[in-house]
Every structure is written in structure tokens, then in C-alpha cells.
């Protein structure tokens, strides 16, 4: 084999070898010492600090993922869906797990179409949020696109499909104000809501029933304990706490009538409320102009929302409950009850066309400049004589008027579910002192008597007050929720909420209802035009609200030539049939010229409701025409 020569191999002297052997021992001891450093460190990590690291490991591995509840749906009284939930698939990216965003976006672009706009929107959001949150790149993925993404997801760490329920309003515009909308939970909401209950929810009711019935609709959040890997991928669900779905709400609204009323108002600005007097249930509530409630949902543009919020027409305002208008002559029947209550019911006054207080120089004019001559209370209602009510107001005094009118709910909220309803104003001496710091003038008493001046009502209040007359004193709370159905299918009926029988002599109702009937059916009634061909008896009252402050000028105004925004508002309130009232309608058309001009809208709505067989299409068209003379 090998020839070995050790001649060139120098060997230590044997005693040096012994010394080297001792070095082996010394080094062994040194190494053992070093090993104990390792052992000590491991003991520290695995025994002393085990609890801490076990918790960190658990944190790494287990994430609590909130499972938002399914929001209750909203239906009309007949079970037609108004606000429902639709599943939306959204493509989201968690930046923390992405190394090269641009190549990832390019890769996604090969799988599903992504527009430049979506990318720039995504990048804007990317700058604002933290690296661990999912940021939506694309909304409304089709199921097919979802499948395509799912197939390639393993190669795209950080990409996820977010499934969300999206609120869809199938009768948007028609029902936007009543049903309302959802909006992003903002800072103010966070202070109000229970954070545990809302875990995982991003939206909260912002308007309409969605807002006021939030508690009924929202349900309660659940959560999953999910094991995730370092890339945020879900491995398995460890435990679940199921969310509780919210209850469904059935409104008292009749969608068919609601749509009809909406169309009947046409392009006018105004509001309409229809109430079933025997229960207080609100059958229709329309506010014009309306808006698309879907604009506030997923995937909509912020610009569209801004337009809505800043529009001069204020489409988000629910004119039916928030719009405050002077009631004009529609206040007269209510004031007429005061005449009976104070024993002045059967008096006649002379109307020369104007009225003057003893020590006042100012003349208060009747709308009919020639005057009504000698006129009693009932004709004064039917023909809307102003002078009669100046006289009555003067004799009652503001304190008595305030007392009597407040029985009908004027100046107070009705208690409808839409808690942001306005209370309106019913003026009194105290009110004026309080708000303006001025004494009450007698002239103000007079104009309060014809529903001008400081008095403000909304259409719900007017319809509510009218339904008290229709009910002969029985006052129900106006009601929008018919019933709720919880997730187990248990129904909770919202029974009519009888507040009181108001303190009015019941013998007053008959004559005054008769007088209101004459408004429509007598040949001198202010709304006589709508009685033509009517198959039932209707009681109503017109009101015309001057916008130009000086009545004299307003009277001389030539409606044909003036800008529409200076036209008076038209108000009409009515119920039918008079002997057994089934529906009350109060309607306002801003700049609608006069109460008689817009009365056909109310008739059309009442016709539609009372006459079970649908009206023929051609007769409908005519009845909406707004007549501009008095």
C-alpha cells in the first residue's frame, strides 16, 4: 500500500504529549461550561418563560374572527321585500403578506378584470390603513370569478375573498325616506353601539327605519376562533359562537299605495302621509324629491353621496315628518272645535272681505275680497272664510287657542317610530317670550286663527290630527311597524297604540265633519272640483300658505307670470269615507299654488285605496292635473 516515512514527521517529546492530554481535559471542562449556558438559556425559555411564549404562540396561531349577524329585512304590510340582504363577494388584499404588490396586482389582473380606477382607489386606501387589515380591491365578483381566484390563491399570499351581505333596497326612491339607509359606522356611532354586539359589522342604520329600528334589525355578532398560519391563511375553525340574526320588520306601509302616492306627487316638491285612522297605522309616507337609497351601499361612489348631501333640494330630508309648514286654512276645522268648547259654536259673523281690530290700523283681509257676507261656522269652514276665523281667534284669545289646538297634537311630536320627526310650532305667549323675548301682539292671534304666522306643522301631524277628527276624538299613536318576526319565526304584533280620547265634546264632531264634507261636496266648497264622480263621501280641508309676506301682494300675484318659487304652498288634508273613515291623507306641494289645486292628489290616493278595483288608466292621468286658480 502506502510507503510511510515518518522521518519528516516531528513528534513531541512524550512529556509534551502528557501536557497536550491535559489540555484535552481542560477544554472538555470549558466546553461543559459553555453547554451549561445553552442549557440555562433553554431552561429559561422553556420552563421559566414557558407561559409567556405559549401565549405568544397561541396569539400567533389563533385569531378571533368576528362573524357579523345577518341584518333583519324590512317588508311592507303585505310582505313585499323593501330592504333585503344580498351576498357580495369582494376581493381583498392584506398588505402584510405581500412582498411585491405590483406583480401581485398584475397577477390578479390576469384572473379577474381590475380597472385602473379600482387600483388607484385601492392604493389610496392602502396608504390610510394598517398592514394587517384586508383592503378591498374589487367589489361584486361573480361566482365564476370567485372560483378562478380560489384556484390560484395558493400562489398569491395575502389575497382573500371577503363575503359580505350587502343591503339592497328593491323599491328605492319610493320608500327611501321611510325605510332609510345604512352607512359606515363612524366615530360617533362607535360611542353609541355595544362594541361586542357590533364586532365585524361595518354598517349601521343612518336614516329612516334602518336607523330608528337598529336595535331590532341588527341582531348580535358571533365569532369564530380560527387557526391561521403565518401567511394569514385559515387552517381550521377551532370553535364557533354563532351570531344571532336580527328580526325582520313588517312596516304598516302599503307598497302599492306608497308607489301610487309617490307617482301622484309627480315632480313636485312636497310630502304626503296616509294613515288608517282606526289604528294609527301609516299606509304611505312620501317625500319628494327622493333619492336612491342604494347609493349608500357597497361599491357606490362617494361623489354620488356628496351630491345628495349637498343638493339644494335636500332630498335626504323627509318632508313628511321633518318638513315644517304653516298649516294655513287646514287649521280651521280644529279651531272650530274651540268655538264649540267655548260655547260660540252657532254664531254668525259678517264678512265684508276684511277684518280690523278696534285699535289697529292694519286690515286683515279675507281671501275673498268681496267678502262672504253673513256666514256661520260650517260655511266658514267649507268656504274657508278668513274673517270668520279672525273674529273667532280674537274672541278665543291665544291662550285658549293654544290649549284647544294642542289637544290635536299640534306643537308636539306624534310619537311615530321616526324619532327625528319635527314637533312643529304651536305659538303661545310663553313661546314667543321664550324664543323671541317679545310680548304677544293681538294681530298674531288673528293670523294664528287662519294657520299663518308662527304655527308650523308637518304632514304627519296634520294627518294625525285629521285622523283624530275622523275617529271622533280617539287618538292613536301613528305607527310604522306592523310586526316584527324574529329569527325563530316568532311574530310580535305591534297593536294599535291608543293614547287617549281627547277632551272634546263628542257632539261637536258631527257638525264639523259635515262642514269638512261640504269642503269637497258642496258647490261652494274650496275643493269642490274633486268631488266629480266620487263614489264615496270625503271630508277635507284645503290650505294655501303664502310665501310672499304681505298678503295684499300675494293676492294680486298673477300666478302665470310669477316665478314658481314664490307661488304659495298648497296643503290638503282629508279622510274618507266620512261615515266610516278608512284612510286619512295629508299632502303638501311646495309652491303648489293652493290647497284646491293639489286636492286631486289626495283624491287619487284615496280613490286608489278605497276602490278595490283599479281605476282605469286614462282617468288617472287627468286627476293629477294641478289647477292653478282658487
Amino acid at each position: 500500500m502506502f510507503r510511510l516515512s515518518n522521518s519528516e514527521n516531528y513528534q513531541m517529546p512524550i512529556e509534551r504529549v502528557r501536557s497536550m492530554q491535559s489540555r484535552v481535559i481542560i477544554v472538555s471542562v470549558f466546553l461543559i461550561g459553555l453547554l451549561f449556558i445553552l442549557i440555562g438559556r433553554l431552561a429559561y425559555l422553556q420552563i421559566v418563560s414557558h407561559q409567556d411564549f405559549a401565549a405568544l404562540s397561541k396569539d400567533n396561531q389563533v385569531q378571533v374572527v368576528p362573524v357579523p349577524p345577518v341584518r333583519g329585512q324590512i317588508y311592507d304590510r303585505n310582505g313585499t321585500l323593501l330592504a333585503g340582504n344580498e351576498t357580495v363577494y369582494r376581493l381583498a388584499i392584506t398588505p402584510r403578506y405581500v412582498d411585491d404588490l405590483d406583480s401581485l396586482l398584475a397577477k390578479i389582473g390576469n384572473i379577474v378584470p381590475v380597472s385602473d380606477e379600482e387600483v388607484s382607489k385601492f392604493k389610496r386606501k392602502l396608504g390610510l390603513s394598517n398592514k394587517h387589515t384586508e383592503i378591498v380591491l374589487k367589489d361584486f365578483l361573480s361566482p365564476e370569478e370567485v372560483a378562478r381566484v380560489a384556484v390560484d390563491r395558493y400562489s398569491m399570499p395575502g389575497v382573500s375573498i371577503v363575503t359580505e351581505l350587502h343591503r339592497v333596497y328593491s323599491s328605492s326612491f319610493y320608500t327611501s325616506h321611510v325605510v332609510g339607509t345604512l352607512g359606515q359606522i363612524d366615530k360617533q356611532d362607535l360611542q353609541k353601539v355595544d362594541p361586542v354586539r357590533y364586532r365585524g359589522l361595518q354598517h349601521v342604520g343612518k336614516l329612516g327605519m334602518e336607523m330608528v329600528s337598529e336595535d331590532i334589525l341588527v341582531g348580535s355578532s358571533g365569532h369564530n376562533q380560527v387557526e391561521t398560519n403565518a401567511h394569514g391563511r385559515k387552517i381550521r375553525v377551532l370553535s364557533r359562537a354563532m351570531p344571532t340574526a336580527g328580526s325582520d320588520i313588517y312596516l304598516t306601509i302599503d307598497l302599492d299605495l306608497q308607489k301610487f302616492a309617490y307617482d301622484a306627487l309627480g315632480d313636485e316638491v312636497g310630502g304626503l302621509v296616509a294613515i288608517e285612522p282606526s289604528t294609527g297605522q301609516i299606509l304611505a309616507m312620501v317625500s319628494k324629491p327622493s333619492f336612491d337609497s342604494n347609493v349608500f351601499g357597497i361599491g357606490s361612489e362617494q361623489d354620488e353621496r356628496k351630491v345628495l348631501l349637498n343638493s339644494e333640494d335636500r332630498p335626504l330630508l323627509n318632508r313628511a315628518v321633518q318638513g315644517q309648514y304653516p298649516p294655513g286654512s287646514t287649521i280651521k276645522p280644529f279651531l272650530a272645535f274651540s268655538a264649540f268648547e267655548t260655547g260660540m259654536g252657532n254664531r254668525k259673523y259678517y264678512c265684508p272681505g276684511w277684518y280690523q281690530l278696534p285699535d289697529y290700523s292694519r286690515q286683515f283681509r279675507c281671501w275673498k275680497s268681496g267678502g262672504h257676507g253673513y256666514i256661520d261656522l260650517f260655511d266658514a269652514i267649507a268656504e274657508s272664510c278668513d274673517v270668520y276665523f279672525y273674529e273667532l281667534a280674537h274672541r278665543l284669545g291665544i291662550d285658549e287657542m293654544y290649549y284647544q289646538l294642542s289637544k290635536f297634537g299640534f306643537g308636539n311630536v306624534t310619537g311615530v317610530e321616526l324619532s327625528y320627526e319635527s314637533a312643529g310650532i304651536l305659538p303661545s305667549k310663553e313661546w314667543k317670550q321664550w324664543t323671541k323675548g317679545e310680548p304677544w301682539y293681538e294681530g298674531e292671534t288673528l293670523i294664528t286663527g287662519i294657520g299663518q304666522g308662527a304655527t308650523l306643522v308637518n304632514m304627519l301631524q296634520l294627518a294625525h290630527a285629521t285622523s283624530i277628527i275622523a275617529n271622533r276624538g280617539v287618538k292613536f299613536r301613528p305607527q310604522l311597524i306592523h310586526k316584527t318576526v324574529d329569527v325563530q319565526g316568532e311574530e310580535y304584533l305591534y297593536v294599535p297604540d291608543l293614547i287617549e280620547v281627547i277632551d272634546i265634546n263628542e257632539r261637536s264632531y258631527g257638525p264639523i265633519i259635515k262642514a269638512m264634507e261640504k269642503v269637497v261636496h258642496s258647490n261652494r266648497g274650496t275643493a269642490r272640483r274633486i268631488s266629480e264622480g266620487m263614489e264615496y263621501r270625503m271630508a277635507g280641508k284645503t290650505g294655501t300658505v303664502q310665501i310672499v309676506s304681505r298678503k295684499k301682494e300675494a293676492d294680486r300675484m298673477d300666478l302665470e307670470k310669477t316665478d314658481k318659487k314664490f307661488h304659495p304652498h298648497g296643503i290638503f288634508t282629508a279622510f274618507a269615507p266620512t261615515d266610516n273613515p278608512e284612510i286619512v291623507v295629508a299632502v303638501i306641494v311646495e309652491n303648489g299654488a293652493s290647497g284646491s289645486a293639489i286636492a286631486p292628489i289626495a283624491r287619487a290616493v284615496i280613490d286608489h285605496y278605497l276602490l278595490s278595483e283599479p281605476e282605469t288608466a286614462d282617468s288617472k292621468g287627468d286627476s293629477f292635473a294641478i289647477v292653478t286658480d282658487h
Binding site: 502506502f2 514527521n9 497536550m20 477544554v27 466546553l31 453547554l35 397561541k58 403565518a230
Partner: protein, 372 residues
């Protein structure tokens, strides 16, 4: 010729007529570590059987190399030390040159299918070369010159490896070389002087470190300053080890490794996987096995009266120990993350071959006899 010897712990078998010298304790301990390595690889690799088979093949190849080396008489190896050393240094320069000519920094040569790291070869070539110089009759009367030359022979290739850049291996080479010089008989006075110089040099070396190397050292002192960036590896590793507790989470049950939180869990951080799944008890058993392996090497060295063999055996023992100490120290967060594998357990062939070849030298060395 070589005298054949049979004792309780050593035996000579004949394989196809070729004598195989086998140190049974060393062989069994190494095999045990390799098997443990396979078990933990299976867990760390996501139960990938192909990967496991590849590693098993590497073990077989490396064991064959070990057995082959054990048959080569240590005297022969001594005479081949200079060419081996020169070849290793040449290959390191070649790798560096390839790196400089635009292929980007790399540490390995691609030899048609498998990658070979010349710096690994240095781990054995350097102690052999140092031992060769220190036992050369040429320097019989110039002992001091022999030590100075040894120092240069260690530091030059270490510097080349550092340029690759591979700080971990460079430091390991220095440690192994220093061990060879120490066991070659450097006087205690010079041991003291050089130890002191090294300590004094540390602040001087600092500015020459690459930025990423500085970061690694700084991160060691406060990994939580950047838990998702520079401190991430270190923190996840400590979480894995710490959450293992005393008895561990069980084989294949380590959430840190199974759920991808641990980086490099097949290679540099394989100990974290082991410690997470087998706990403190498992870690102690593993360290105990290593201790036995190293102790067996040192025992052979102690008995050995042939200078070259003793120096090489001690160096192999120190090499194994430094690998173990640095690797465990780095995954446990007391040493910077420098990228030294855990001997016989980390995935990869080159390190496996180095360690088992080293053990082959050890096995062969115990038959060497003092001839003068």
C-alpha cells in the same frame, strides 16, 4: 503496516475484502443524530416524503464517505494535507471569482446536479494543514515560526470566506484553526496573548462588517424593537422553543413550525422545531447525545499519542461543538443569526458530509501510533 486491533469498542469488519474500521459508539451516536434529524425533517418539511428520501440518500452517501475515510491511514492523510488545503483554498477563490464576475454573491459551485460549498471543505482542510505544519520536522527547531505560519494559514482562507460573504463559516474556520494551533502545543503565554488580542480586535472589526451583519448583532440585543422585520426570525424561534415547554407539543404538532411561523425551519432553525415538538426534555436528550459524541472524540484524542491525529481529532470535536453551540445559541436568541447548521440534523448535504467525514478521520485516527 498498520496493526489490526480488536477491542470492546472498536472492531474491524471486512466489506468485500476491504477492511472497514468502525468506532461503534461514534457510529451509533452519529447514526442516532441522523435518524433524529430525519424525524424532525419530516415534521419541519410539512411531511414531505420526497424531501425525506433525498435527505436519507445524503446520509447514506455521507456515511459511505465517513467509512471510506476511516480506512485511510492517518499518516497518508497527513501527507496529503497540503494538496487538500491548496485545493480547498483554490476552490474558495474560484467561487469568489465567479461571484465577482457578475453572477452575484454565492458560496457554492454547481457540480452538475448537486451544489458543493468549498468553504465546508476548509473546515477539515485547515486543521489538517495546521497539524501538518506543526508536526513537520522542517520546523523542528523553529517552533515559533511554525505557529506564525499556522496563523496565516488559518486567517487567509477565513478572510476569503468572509468575503463571500459568509461570516458564520469564517468565524467557525478561525475557531477550528485556533483549536488546531492550541492542541498543536501553543504555549499558554501565547494562548493568553492571542485571546486578549482577539477581544481587543472586536471593536476594530465592527466598522468592517456588512450592514446586514451589524443588524443581526444589534437585533440580538433587542429583537422586539422590530418584531415583524429584523427581529422576526429570532422572535418566532424563541416563541417556538419557549412554547414547547418541558415536554413539548408532540411530534408533528408544533404550531410555530407547522403553520409556517418559523423561518428556515429545515436548516438553520431546525433546533427550534425540535425544541417546540419535544420540549426541554427532548432538547436535553439531543444535547446529551451531542455531548457523548464530542466526548467520544475527545476521549480518542486523549488516548492518541500520534500528534497529527490528536490535533485533527480535537479540531473535529471543536468544530462539531462550535456548530452545535452557535446554532442552538442563535435559535435561542443569545447569539446573532449567522447561519451555521445544526450538525447531522439540518437539511442539506455539504454540512452532513463535512461532519461525517470529520468523524471518519476521528475513527481512522485512533489506529495511528506514535512511531518515534
Amino acid at each position: 503496516m498498520i496493526r489490526l486491533q480488536l477491542s470492546l469498542t472498536t472492531s474491524i469488519r471486512r466489506l468485500n475484502g476491504f477492511p472497514v474500521r468502525l468506532d461503534i459508539p461514534l457510529f451509533l451516536l452519529a447514526l442516532l443524530l441522523c435518524l433524529l434529524g430525519l424525524a424532525v425533517q419530516f415534521s419541519a418539511g410539512g411531511e414531505d416524503l420526497d424531501q425525506l428520501i433525498r435527505q436519507a440518500v445524503r446520509i447514506v452517501v455521507a456515511v459511505a464517505i465517513m467509512l471510506a475515510l476511516s480506512t485511510v491511514p492517518i499518516e497518508v492523510l497527513r501527507r496529503f494535507s497540503p494538496p487538500i488545503y491548496l485545493a480547498a483554498v483554490g476552490l474558495v477563490i474560484l467561487v469568489l471569482a465567479i461571484g465577482f464576475t457578475g453572477r452575484g454573491a454565492q458560496r457554492w459551485l454547481d457540480l452538475g446536479g448537486f451544489r458543493f460549498q468549498p468553504s465546508e471543505l476548509l473546515k477539515l482542510a485547515i486543521p489538517m494543514m495546521v497539524a501538518y505544519v506543526l508536526t513537520s520536522t522542517f520546523f523542528k527547531n523553529y517552533r515559533n515560526i511554525a505557529f506564525w505560519i499556522s496563523g496565516v494559514l488559518v486567517l487567509v482562507p477565513a478572510f476569503l470566506v468572509y468575503l463571500q460573504p459568509d461570516l458564520g463559516t469564517a468565524l467557525l474556520i478561525i475557531a477550528v484553526g485556533a483549536a488546531a494551533i492550541f492542541f498543536g502545543g501553543l504555549s499558554w503565554r501565547w494562548v493568553g496573548i492571542s485571546s486578549f488580542s482577539v477581544l481587543a480586535l472586536i471593536p476594530l472589526i465592527w466598522p468592517f462588517l456588512q450592514d446586514y451583519q451589524k443588524t443581526r448583532v444589534l437585533t440580538l440585543f433587542d429583537p422586539w424593537s422590530d418584531p415583524l422585520g429584523r427581529g422576526y426570525h429570532s422572535i418566532q424561534s424563541m416563541i417556538a422553543i419557549g412554547s414547547g415547554g418541558i415536554s413539548g407539543k408532540g411530534w408533528l404538532q408544533g404550531s410555530q413550525s407547522q403553520l409556517d411561523f418559523l423561518p428556515e425551519r429545515n436548516t438553520d432553525f431546525v433546533f427550534s422545531v425540535f425544541a417546540e415538538e419535544f420540549g426541554f426534555v427532548g432538547g436535553m436528550i439531543l444535547i446529551f447525545i451531542y455531548s457523548l459524541l464530542i466526548a467520544r472524540c475527545l476521549m480518542i484524542a486523549y488516548r492518541c499519542d500520534y500528534d497529527f491525529a490528536r490535533i485533527v481529532v480535537c479540531s473535529v470535536a471543536i468544530m462539531t461543538f462550535v456548530h452545535l453551540f452557535v446554532n442552538v445559541g442563535m435559535v435561542a436568541g443569545i447569539l446573532p443569526v449567522v447561519g451555521l447548521p445544526l450538525p447531522l440534523i439540518s437539511y442539506g448535504g455539504t454540512s452532513m458530509v463535512t461532519v461525517l467525514a470529520g468523524l471518519g478521520l476521528v475513527m481512522g485516527a485512533q489506529y495511528a501510533k506514535r512511531t518515534v
